[in-house]
């Protein structure tokens, strides 16, 4: 499940086509749909973060919603209390989460699989309570949360706030994905994967497990934190109960459905997480989560590689058949 | 009818094939030795009999097919396996280990019979009685081997599979265990299939032997014939 080291021209063309589609789309759909697409991009960034940690580096996190929350509250507090412009909150949210993730990653170094899952689960469950704590209320707004205003397009561009935010998020997502892809296919990425698959051998070959594991935690938290900040701006609101353990579980679902250790999987997963609850909740309020649960279990039995993995298998089969036909023709 | 009949047995660890068409049989009441060097496939053969590895081919015990069956089922049909490494329940007491040997018994009198059998085991292996309340993990290697054999005997098996019982043990202890094996074989008609690297001791105990090399049987015969075989003498008996 290693990311390819070089991107071939077909893939590049495909991505270009997708981007073109993404740029044209917002002008043909309603504002609310544009908002939903923005959220898909937000989740994609968050899922890429989570996937780095769990898919590529093998550290299970059931509490990534906490970093999303930290990023979201960073943006909200900076915009509401200090009047910081929205785009400046992103690097701050990223930096705060990078440090927070790295710090959490340090004790996590000694925790393997199950125990790390336990600890991160605890983090995810505690987050709403921490956010509601009266001692922080002057900052966090307590139970009521904080409202923020969606920014207008700069330089008088002829875009309404929803569309502007969409393009802004698209640009950030593009940047984050390119950076992430670069990271994962380079030396750091290889170290991360080695630690996941053969930690003892990796250490024996000179990889500093402790450093890379904490670094991965930090970078993963940074990604999810930036996503949280973007999400807060898009939703225009942060409140403790939106960041419960169920947010962390949503991210887990997105990662599993999209595909572990897959960059494109982050996008598939994000589409799933954004639209399936919408459709499902028309059936009943409980349906989205029941569907999540069923998908989690079924995917583990049937499609452990997620949608991305499934597509990869299909593509490999198609290539084999294509090559077989070609060789038969030339024989 | 042979007690154990193995035909064209192939065994696999994942994609690697370790046994390449083994065929042999055992009569009831006999003691048979499987000899061979490290990695020849002797332990794998015993594991295959118990359904612990993937196999192809036929294995029959008392006329009934046992290939493809789960370990628990094979065991309940009357085969007791003393694995290499002994398989002791280290965190349980010595006596609990013995009691577990009688786990699959049925019948109203099983409690009394189990107690009587445990007494019999202490008769064979007095050291176990001394340590009966001790955690099995604190027993010495020899004691654990005796415990493993005793636990297998608690199953009241028709066939016992012993994997390297002499491994890491002092000669006197090994002799004691082998003596008990001979006694059980003669007095209780328990057939024994013995895997041993110590060919000399094995050939002394057994009446038949097979020589296995790289997953195939290369020689078979009575233990005297095997002992007198020049090649065997040079390679495995050292003279």
């Amino acid at each position: 499940m290693n990311p390819e080291n070089r991107i071939d021209s077909r893939k590049l063309a495909g991505i270009g086509l997708l981007l073109a589609f993404a740029c044209v789309l917002p002008f043909h759909i309603s504002n609310y749909s544009v908002f939903q697409c923005t959220m898909v991009l937000v989740y994609a960034i968050a899922l890429l973060g989570l996937n780095m940690l769990t898919g590529f580096n093998g550290q299970i996190s059931l509490g990534h919603g906490a970093f999303y929350a930290i990023g979201a509250y960073c943006a909200a507090v900076l915009m509401d209390h200090y009047g910081m412009p929205y785009w400046a909150t992103l690097p701050v949210a990223g930096a705060v989460c990078l440090v927070a993730g790295f710090l959490f990653g340090l004790p996590a170094l000694r925790l393997e699989g199950l125990y790390l899952a336990l600890a991160t689960y605890a983090l995810g469950v505690c987050m709403p309570q921490l956010l509601k704590y009266k001692g922080f209320e002057s900052w966090t707004g307590g139970v009521q949360g904080i409202s923020i205003i969606k920014p207008d397009a700069p330089f008088g561009l002829p875009l309404n706030p929803d569309r502007w935010l969409y393009f802004f998020t698209l640009a950030v997502a593009l940047l984050m994905f390119v950076l992430g892809w670069n990271l994962l296919r380079g030396r750091i990425g290889r170290a991360m994967i080695a630690i996941r698959d053969q930690p003892i051998a990796a250490e024996a070959m000179g990889v500093n497990n402790a450093f890379y594991k904490s670094l991965t935690f930090g970078v993963s938290a940074m990604y999810t934190g930036i996503a949280g900040a973007l999400g807060a701006i898009a939703v225009q609101f942060v409140a403790p109960d939106s960041f419960s353990i169920f947010l962390s579980i949503s991210l887990l679902v997105g990662m599993v459905v999209g595909g572990l250790a897959s960059i494109s999987g982050a996008v598939f997963g994000a589409i799933f997480v954004q639209f399936v609850p919408n459709i499902a909740s028309r059936m009943s309020t409980a349906a989205p989560w029941a569907i999540y649960g069923v998908f989690l279990i079924v995917f583990m039995y049937v499609m452990p590689g997620g949608i991305a993995g499934f597509i990869r298998i299909l593509a490999a089969q198609a290539t084999r058949r294509f090559r077989a036909v070609r060789s038969r023709r030339s024989a | 009818m042979a007690l154990l009949d193995v035909a064209s047995l192939e065994a696999f660890y994942g994609p690697t094939q370790v046994l390449h068409g083994l065929s042999f049989s055992m009569q009831e009441g006999s003691i048979t030795a499987l000899l061979g060097a490290n990695g020849a496939g002797k332990t794998t053969t015993l594991r295959a009999l118990c359904g612990m590895v993937a196999t192809r081919g036929e294995m029959r015990f008392a006329g009934e097919r046992i290939d493809g069956r789960a370990t628990e089922d094979v065991v309940r049909r009357g085969i007791a396996h003393v694995p290499d490494g002994r398989g002791t329940f280290l965190d349980l007491t010595t006596e609990d280990n013995l009691r577990l040997g009688a786990y699959s018994r049925k019948g109203a009198r099983r409690k009394a019979e189990t107690a009587a059998d445990i007494e019999r085991m202490y008769g064979y292996f007095p050291r176990l009685r001394e340590r009966h309340r001790q955690q099995a993990g604190t027993l010495s290697g020899g004691e654990q081997q005796m415990l493993a054999v005793a636990r297998a005997l608690m199953l009241r098996p028709r066939l016992m599979l012993l994997d390297e019982p002499s491994f890491g043990l002092a000669p006197l202890v090994v002799q004691h265990i082998f003596d008990i094996m001979r006694t059980i074989n003669q007095q209780e008609r328990v057939s024994i299939l013995l895997v041993e690297q110590n060919a000399a001791m094995a050939l002394e105990l057994a009446d038949h032997a097979y020589l296995i090399e790289t997953g195939r049987i290369v020689l078979s015969g009575s233990s005297r014939e095997i002992r007198d075989n020049d090649a065997v003498r040079r390679s495995y008996l050292g003279y």
């Binding site: 004790p107 921490l130 704590y133 | 280290l90």
Partner: protein, 291 residues
């Protein structure tokens, strides 16, 4: 804080602690057999409690519903192990954790769908008046502690003295050797899950009168049970029980000291603290991994 208050906090802490001890024990039972932590343990207990509630709501007397629920939970636990957990038994840890989370989520949403998210009251079989002329603990707290202690004692006797209990312990410690003495290890696992579910259902029914019944009732309690199991030693049943009582008392004392709003965070700190400082807990075994 006066001695009177301290005593009240400690005693009521022991009462809640008995609930944590039960859930922690259920977690440890499954951990011992499978080296897995059942993240869905809380939701299982919650769902069982809802089953009891619907039986009582339909007119069944309390104890009838109680025992019926325990029985149904036992069977359900066994079924879940055989049907849902078994296919991923030998999969990597991540896969199993994901399946457990899936189970958690399904149970939670099923409960919300069938029973709605409105908070319900759950009856207590114990009188509401104070007993024994004291005011530290209510009759319910005393009664539920007595019941959970009785359950724990029963389990201890079962595992220590019965042949089946011995076989289950053996299957948990050494599945390969257990097969060699004819133990059907798969069924032992299922039995373990059944017992864990049954114990969890009792814990749920004992805590529901206090915290009221809603689909998210058990999530905080599960966290405390995790902390308790870790503090006591994740592979030590006795440790889990001790840990449960300890965590119950700690929760109350810390709550009295710094306010009750950060109680869950205390659990988080405990969990991370134990895992970092002494992962085997107070009574667990220290595991040496051979490279």
């Amino acid at each position: 804080m006066s001695i009177d208050d301290l005593l009240a906090q400690i005693l009521s802490g022991l009462a809640t602690g008995s609930i944590y001890a039960s859930v922690a024990l259920a977690l440890v039972m499954i951990y011992q057999a499978t080296h897995l932590v059942n993240f869905a343990q809380g939701e299982l207990a919650m769902f069982s409690t809802y089953l009891a509630w619907s039986m009582i709501d339909a007119g069944m007397p309390y104890w009838g519903a109680f025992f019926a629920t325990v029985g149904i939970s036992f069977v359900a636990g066994m079924l879940i192990e055989r049907v849902i957990v078994r296919p991923v038994e030998n999969s990597p840890v991540l896969a199993v954790v994901i399946v457990f989370i899936g189970l958690l989520v399904i149970l939670n949403s099923l409960a919300g769908w069938i029973f709605t998210y409105t908070i319900k009251t759950f009856p207590s079989p114990f009188p509401s008046e104070p007993v024994l002329g004291q005011h530290y603990v209510s009759a319910h707290q005393l009664g539920s502690t007595a019941i959970t202690l009785a359950v724990l004692l029963l389990l201890y006797v079962f595992f220590r003295f019965s042949p089946l209990g011995l076989a289950m312990r053996a299957a948990a410690q050494n599945p390969a050797s257990s097969r060699l003495v004819g133990i059907r290890v798969g069924w032992m696992l299922a039995l373990g899950w059944g017992l864990a579910a049954a114990v969890g259902s009792i814990a749920g029914m004992m805590i529901a009168p206090v915290v009221f019944l809603d689909p998210n009732m058990m999530s905080g309690i599960l966290l405390y049970a995790f902390a308790a199991a870790l503090v006591g030693g994740i592979d030590s049943p006795g440790g889990a029980v001790f840990g449960g009582f300890l965590v119950g008392v700690l929760e109350n004392l810390v709550g009295a000291a710094i306010g009750s709003e950060l109680k869950l965070t205390v659990a988080l700190v405990l969990i991370v603290g134990v895992l970092v400082v002494r992962p085997s807990g107070l009574f667990g075994k220290v595991h040496v991994t051979r490279v």
